[in-house]
């Protein structure tokens, strides 16, 4: 990590450690789950240049699997979350395999359409509980020792999962594999001519992103003790796009900031009902028209070294 990143990361750890003593833990856990979800999404859109409009499929279905296995099979929470992540990975493999056949907006439309299959499955399948979802999921004991019904224990578990996920994304981006991903984003034909099988790279990136989205979704279902249709709906796919866009596409900390901003906004505006949708749409429009680098992208652009900011526009 370079110096600025290291300092920001340490500052983030401090904030994570102090926050539950100042703010409501459930709210913080919600932010962290969405931050991890947005980081997973950003891995794909920010570093490979593939805009998926169906990430709710991985997030939501992982939530169902975690909730079901923990509640019905009595699995310990860590196994339930891992199974959730595995669900994300499996679905990611299938959907990714189909979607990488097309580029650009087609990719977005295909992921959106395929995620609708997952949505209708969740709506109709007997084990997902239809409109009710899976309710009152027990949080259980982590590794058989730590009682997760204690809000602080749950919070630090979620924080640990988030930090691990974040470090994993960082590692992937800064590996040789991540360099190839960026090459594909910038100029795919050139990457092909250099001998890279770009489809394999794209598929692996897609699966990694879906796995992390599943990790986030599984964790969220334990936090709220609920898996519901909200998390598999296309509106959720739109929300994660919005979070990443607001925070800054292709920046490491952007999705986290974006998730915090959007979840906070939803919290304060919850009582206004349909205004939330209107304001989210408005933020989308403003971001696309005038603020394409996002919050973190703007900060890097203003204060960071020259050329460090993502271009936010491209070709």
């Amino acid at each position: 990590m370079d110096r600025a990143t290291r300092i920001t990361f340490l500052a983030m750890l401090v904030v994570l450690a102090v926050a539950p003593f100042v703010l409501y833990p459930i709210f913080l856990m919600k932010v962290l789950c969405f931050a991890l979800f947005a980081c997973a999404f950003n891995l794909l859109v920010g570093y490979v240049g593939l805009l998926s409009f169906g990430h709710a499929a991985f997030f939501g279905s992982a939530g169902y699997v975690t909730a079901y296995t923990v509640k019905m099979w009595g699995l310990p929470p860590e196994l339930g979350i891992l199974l959730g992540a595995a669900t994300g990975a499996g679905l990611g493999l299938v959907i990714g395999w189909l979607a990488i056949r097309r580029q650009g907006i087609y990719f977005a439309m295909i992921t959106l359409a395929l995620s609708q299959i997952v949505f209708f499955y969740a709506l109709q399948a007997p084990w997902t509980g239809g409109e009710d979802g899976i309710q009152s999921v027990p949080r259980g004991h982590l590794f058989g020792l730590i009682d997760l019904h204690d809000p602080m224990a749950m919070y630090f578990t979620v924080a640990a999962i988030f930090v691990l996920g974040f470090l994993f994304v960082y590692r992937v981006i800064h590996s040789p594999f991540g360099q190839v991903l960026k090459a594909i984003r910038e100029n795919e034909p050139r990457a092909i001519s250099l001998g890279y099988e770009t489809d394999r790279y794209k598929l692996l990136a897609f699966v990694l992103s879906a796995t992390l989205a599943g990790l986030a979704g599984g964790t969220k279902s334990l936090v709220f003790q609920l898996a519901s249709l909200t998390d598999v709906q296309w509106q959720m796919s739109g929300e994660v796009v919005l979070m990443t866009l607001v925070g800054g596409l292709g920046t490491i900390f952007g999705p986290i900031v974006g998730a915090a901003v959007i979840v906070t906004m939803q919290n304060y505006l919850a009582e206004f009902g349909s205004w939330v949708t209107i304001i989210q749409g408005f933020i989308f429009v403003v971001c696309v028209l005038t603020f394409r680098r996002g919050i973190v992208g703007e900060i890097i652009g203003r204060f960071g070294p020259k050329g460090a900011a993502p271009t936010g526009g491209g070709h």
């Binding site: 979607a99 907006i105 439309m109 349909s274 939330v276 749409g281 394409r292």
Partner: protein, 295 residues
């Protein structure tokens, strides 16, 4: 009466007709998307919201102005088309030099605003819109009952679709349009006002969506979310057909509507997803789409 593979013919033909109606809407909407995409290189996510606006204009005309169905069929496309032109002039045209994805994100945001706005005013439940008096009733064809309004929707949408096809593929104006799709700079060099053509094309595509919305008002209920779920199916239709061809969009739209209707008869559980599954199959066999040119 005879039975076909254990299905009573009334049910079979009834679902076929519903499929044909749905197909008419898929065709009209995917046609508009394809026309817009051809010239603007933007996938218009607001299309579903604009279809909904068309239905709402019809509803509001009737309740507030006393203007009936036939008037709405003219007024709604003009009003909503003007709204589209306003969007293009104020926002969309700033994005042409950027990655296409920003156009998708912008129009998605506008769709959220429009749908949220209508939901705020009218709630989520559907509002009824009566079938105009001239088109009530129906014909008994012996093997099934054909409601006049549904027959009208199929006929009118076929006329609109083929009219659009004719203008684009067979007239001078259409030739300019196709040329500008291939190479806008060159066409502009020949003295044709390409930016205005782009604006009007977007307006036309949007007007087509609004027209479909008015036609849909008596069949489906008028509700703020009527376009949101439909647009995703239309996206799948567009992926299956490929956006390279106008005729492709029309044919795929009708065909998929019929397939969906048949699925309702034989395996109703899959009727919501059959189009998405077909899309997945087409992607494995012919990734560019049935009528598509190379990606």
């Amino acid at each position: 009466m005879f039975e076909l593979i254990g299905i009573p013919p009334q049910a079979l033909f009834g679902q076929l007709l519903i499929g044909l109606i749905n197909g008419a809407f898929y065709a009209m909407l995917s046609l508009g998307l394809a026309v817009i995409f051809g010239l603007l290189n933007i996938i218009n996510f607001t299309h579903g919201a604009q279809y909904m606006m068309g239905a709402f204009v019809a509803y509001l005309c009737l309740t507030h102005l006393g203007l009936g169905y036939w008037g709405a069929l003219i007024v709604a496309p003009i009003l909503v088309g003007a709204f589209g032109i306003l969007l293009e002039r104020t926002m969309l045209h700033r994005l042409y030099k950027l990655d296409h994805l920003y156009g998708l994100l912008l129009t998605f945001g506008i769709a959220l605003i429009v749908e949220g706005f209508f939901r705020h005013l009218y709630g989520s439940s559907g509002l009824p819109y009566a079938i105009p008096a001239e088109l009530r009733g129906g014909y008994n064809l012996g093997f099934m009952f054909l409601p006049t309004y549904r027959a009208w929707v199929v006929v009118a949408s076929v006329i609109v679709c083929f009219g659009t096809w004719f203008v684009i593929e067979r007239t001078r104006l259409g030739a300019y349009l196709r040329a500008a799709t291939e190479n806008p700079t060159l066409v502009q060099a020949f003295g044709i006002n390409v930016p205005r053509m782009i604006t009007l094309t977007y307006g036309f595509g949007v007007a087509l969506a609004a027209f479909a919305g008015v036609m849909a008002a008596p069949i489906y209920q008028v509700s703020p979310l009527m376009g949101a779920n439909l647009i995703i199916v239309v996206f799948a239709v567009v992926v299956i057909g490929g956006m390279g061809s106008i005729m492709g969009a029309i044919v795929t739209g009708f065909a998929l509507g019929v397939v969906e209707g048949l699925t309702k008869v034989f395996y109703p559980e899959a009727s919501n997803t059959v189009i998405f599954v077909i899309m997945a199959i087409v992607l494995t066999i012919k990734p560019a789409g049935l009528f598509g040119r190379t990606a």
